[in-house]
Amino acid sequence: MDLYVVQFLTGLANAASLFLVASGLSLIFGVTRIVNFAHGAFYMLGAYIAYSLTVRWQTPLGFWAALLVASAAVAVVGVIIETLLLRRIYNAPELLQLLATFGITLIAEDAVRLIWGPEDLVGPRAAGLSGAVSILGNAMPIYDFVLILLGPLVFGLLWLLLHRSRWGLLVRAATQDRDMVNALGVNQKWLFTGVFALGVFLAAFGGGLQIPRDAVTHFMDLSIITEVFVIVVIGGLGSIGGAFLAAIIVSQLNAFGILILPGISLVLMFAVMAVVLVLRPWGLLGKQVVRSRIAALPDVGAWKPFDRTGRLAVSLAVFLAVLLPFLLGDYGISVASEVMIAIIFAISLQFLMSVGGLDSFGHAANLGLGAYGAALCVQYFGMSMELAMLTGPLIAAAFAVVAGWFCVRLSNIYFAMLTLAYAQILWSIVFQWVDLTGGDNGIVGVWPSEWAASPNAYYWLTTACAVGVVLAIRYLTFSPFGYSLRALRDSPMRSATIGISQRHIQHVAFVISAFFAGLAGVLFAFQKGSIFPDALGISTSVDGLIMVLLGGFNTVSGSVVGAVVYKVSSIWLMSNTDFPRLILGSVIVVLVVLFPQGIVGTSQRLLETWRTRRRLGEANVGAPAQKGGVA
């Protein structure tokens, strides 16, 4: 009995620190709709600055002062980033902010390493609170009780701020309908900045609170960011109360879960999220997210297939790609194969995101299933590469049939999070089922057939696949099926009226996308000769998102360019610089500002403007500019 009491209290203490970080993320998302990937970076920055201050101010008052000063300092950094960077891109596709904040995260990871050095830092315990008290004969840290009290205290303060102040009223109004708030004459800019600052402050404070319990490391950002996303989604986006409830549920399930199943921590949180989302599509206490009316209107016009010039240009590019082995050496050609595989992966995600309007955060699941499907077939059945190239994608598609049935019932960010849960659950199965998959040690010895073994032959194989997949996806996009999919994306209600079955069409799209991503996975496995669980990890999914966003979210196949740019630059930076993250992050931030619609999207728009101007100049008539164009 006493064990359960102590375990319950420990769970509450963990819930408090999770809640602090999650509430900030929830606030920011609720009002600005930013999927703030950098929230973990602010948490980490808060911990680092708090570390530097707490080692200097080792008094009971000094500890808390250090936390507040550190959090305020990080909040200032947040304000600078919001005003200088995010404010420029509020009108871009919503997920572009994810890309920008991802860039900031990369920069932050290398920056803390440069400033504070590579080693893990362990700060002092909170002065005056370092001891333990006895609870039913078990020693329990006093600091945990502070956390247990702090959670509800912060919750209460936030509630008061949101419900008893004019500013809070505006924040709540903006969470519900930010365009209406804007129409009523409220200066959105400062409201957004204020909310962002508050959210960042809470994240940094949460980071500082870990000083007496945890080591400060340069990867603590990534270990917290997924957890708090999950908490926020379980609780319901934008709902502070929901975040509080979800933090308690997850922490308690974990505290008691490990008594029964000691290895459960890895999968528990995502399993809970999947169950909650299936049963309550908007989280425990959340409401349906109202899409911003402004952002919801894509002003790109309808896509058109390539005209003759476009087709000629594409043929030329393919022709040059085929000739590449005569220009590059073995190494260059294997990098080129990797780029081709990235193209297949990116375009399969783009089909789901840009055409289907379904933002997947778990696309790595499909790549990984394809790769593992093929590798296991090779390992256990001695299957040939040719056959495995078919079974791998089919396995990915088969899983997608089941997962997709659940996922397409949700929309927007909830769809994204359920796909994330899908990928994470698969990842933990692959990671833990050592007998079948080799766990972390992966599967090795998956090499291509004799005829494809040379770098050049393998490159031509990947190129053929990439060209085929891109053509297939473009064909699908401009087929009646593609039109239905786009109709559902642009206006679900009107589509329903004319008899398009949303779930059926989107489910099929989900499976098609998984099939092609699975093919990318197979090619990846055979190129590397091996496959490891990180292929299913979050960073692979993020890579996919980046390539799509970098290429152009509102384009049919801009991700091809995104994949080339991202893959080539990340491989080059990794090989040639000591701080690849810092540079890659900066490049991403600059690209986001220069090309708010992605490289292809923005270039197209500039070209369109130029053409319109020229036409107007020539004809000298005010004919309305034709929107859209080849994508």
């Binding site: 064990l3 102590v6 375990q7 963990n14 390493r113 590579p118 080693e119 893990d120 362990v122 315990r125 370092s130 333990a132 078990n138 020693a139 329990m140 840290p141 945990d144 007496p212 319990r213 945890d214 080591a215 490391t217 340069h218 990867f219 603590m220 270990s223 957890e227 974990n254 505290a255 490990i258 000691p262 290895g263 921590s265 890895l266 050496g329 190494y331 294997s334 990797e338 833990q432 050592v434 080799g438 766990g439 972390d440 040690n441 992966g442 090795v444 090499w447 770098p455 990846f524 590397k528 000769g529 091996s530 490891f532 990180d534 491989i571 990794m574 090989s575 000591d578 701080f579 690849p580």
Partner: protein
């Protein structure tokens, strides 16, 4: 005319520079520099010092040793891209390095496929030289099995019968626990394991884990967590009196990389493997320590020793080899002895594992810092299975 002479001179200079490069011996090195700087920065300092020492002493058979180093970002896939660059573009004669077990296994399989010599530095997994061993792969560091058997030997001397285990939930943690259990129960059939916890690597919920272990009332605990997880476990466990009156046996905790961040919080009396750099009293180590301190104004970590010994062993192989052809390198590597700060070691012919050992001792706190006391150096050769037995473990 003058321009022509200058141009010719320039071309000749370039050509001769080209030939002098070709005379260098280039070896490739890959490690997780950007993702694991706490280990890889001292490691890099270690191998850079070794390269300089070797070249100052006349290089290898009169040729200058050049190391081309690449980052793998902690991912097996990226490590293979780097390995490919080193082999195809840089033309290195061998690939060395890596930290993570999965990266090591990926590069080892690459080496087998492309017939390249691979000298693994740090990966601990037993599979690298046993179940997935291949002709082209050698490994420097004492493996998981060696660390486990050193600790099991000490653990068997303890009176404790009821044991609990805490290990990160992936292959390393799982195999460390499995080998330790097997060896301890072989030495002490009366031992039973009463509780186990498998926190996710990097995300331990230390309070709950400590409490769950406490509830089983074990007499001794085996810990395999390291890094930030270890910090959390030590802090929560100490405050919650988990370690009070209990013996703790812990993998790698005596390595400066993991012990130093803990400072005054370092646990006392844990039986650990590690590297007590400040109190090793051998001539070999003293020479290394002095040179390192003079060069970097910093003390060495275990990573420094690994990096330094890695290049020393690579040089010994190259020195002994008839040519830089892979078959000659393999022949030369079998049984070759090389100097390390821990004394001479060699690569076993049967399983390609080096006999480099580790220090086993107890942790203590001295002047607000964690240190190792009562330690002794254990050579890997005393703990590895015999070469005949080891050969049977390979495919």
């Amino acid at each position: 005319m003058k321009t022509l002479i200058r141009a010719t001179g320039l071309i000749l200079a370039i050509a001769s520079a080209g030939t002098s490069w070709a005379a260098d011996i280039k070896i490739g090195e890959i490690n997780s520099y950007s993702s694991l700087p706490a280990f890889t920065e001292p490691y890099k300092k270690g191998w850079e010092m070794a390269v300089e020492e070797i070249n100052a002493a006349g290089g290898i058979k009169g040729q200058k040793l050049v190391v081309v180093s690449k980052d793998d970002g902690g991912k097996p896939g990226d490590a293979l891209t780097a390995a490919n660059e080193l082999v195809s573009k840089e033309g290195v004669v061998m690939v060395t390095g890596s930290f993570f077990s999965n990266v090591g296994l990926a590069v080892a399989d690459f080496a087998k496929q492309k017939k390249v010599f691979y000298l693994a530095a740090e990966p601990l997994t037993d599979a690298l030289v046993w179940s997935k061993g291949n002709d082209y792969t050698f490994r420097l560091r004492p493996s998981n099995y060696v660390q486990a058997s050193m600790l099991a030997q000490e653990a068997a001397k303890l009176p404790a019968k009821r044991w609990a285990t805490i290990a990160p939930n992936y292959e390393y943690g799982q195999s460390a626990v499995a080998v330790f259990k097997e060896l301890l129960q072989k030495a002490r059939p009366d031992v039973e394991f009463v509780a186990e916890q498998w926190p996710p690597q990097g995300k331990i919920d230390a309070g709950s884990v400590a409490q769950a272990i406490e509830a089983a009332k074990p007499e001794a605990i085996l810990n395999v967590t390291f890094g930030a997880d270890l910090v959390k476990l030590v802090r929560e466990g100490t405050t919650r009196e988990l370690f009070k009156d209990r013996s703790v046996v812990s993998f790698l905790t005596g390595e400066p990389e993991y012990l130093d961040p803990l400072q005054a919080d370092a646990p006392v009396g844990w039986i650990v493997t590690g590297y007590p750099w400040s109190s090793i009293d051998t001539a070999d180590h003293k020479k290394f320590l002095d040179a390192y301190m003079a060069r970097y104004k910093d003390y060495p970590r275990l990573g420094s020793v690994v990096g330094y010994s890695l290049i020393k062993s690579a040089a010994a192989i190259l020195e002994r080899s008839k040519s830089t052809q892979v078959d000659d390198l393999i022949t030369a590597a079998k049984g070759v002895t090389f100097d390390t700060p821990f004394g001479p070691a060699s690569f076993r012919a049967a399983d390609h594992q080096s006999t480099l050992g580790a220090f086993v001792g107890k942790t203590a706190v001295k002047d607000g810092k964690g240190v190792m006391v009562d330690f002794k150096y254990q050579s890997g050769s005393d703990f590895l299975p015999s070469e005949a037995e080891a050969a049977k473990l390979r495919p």
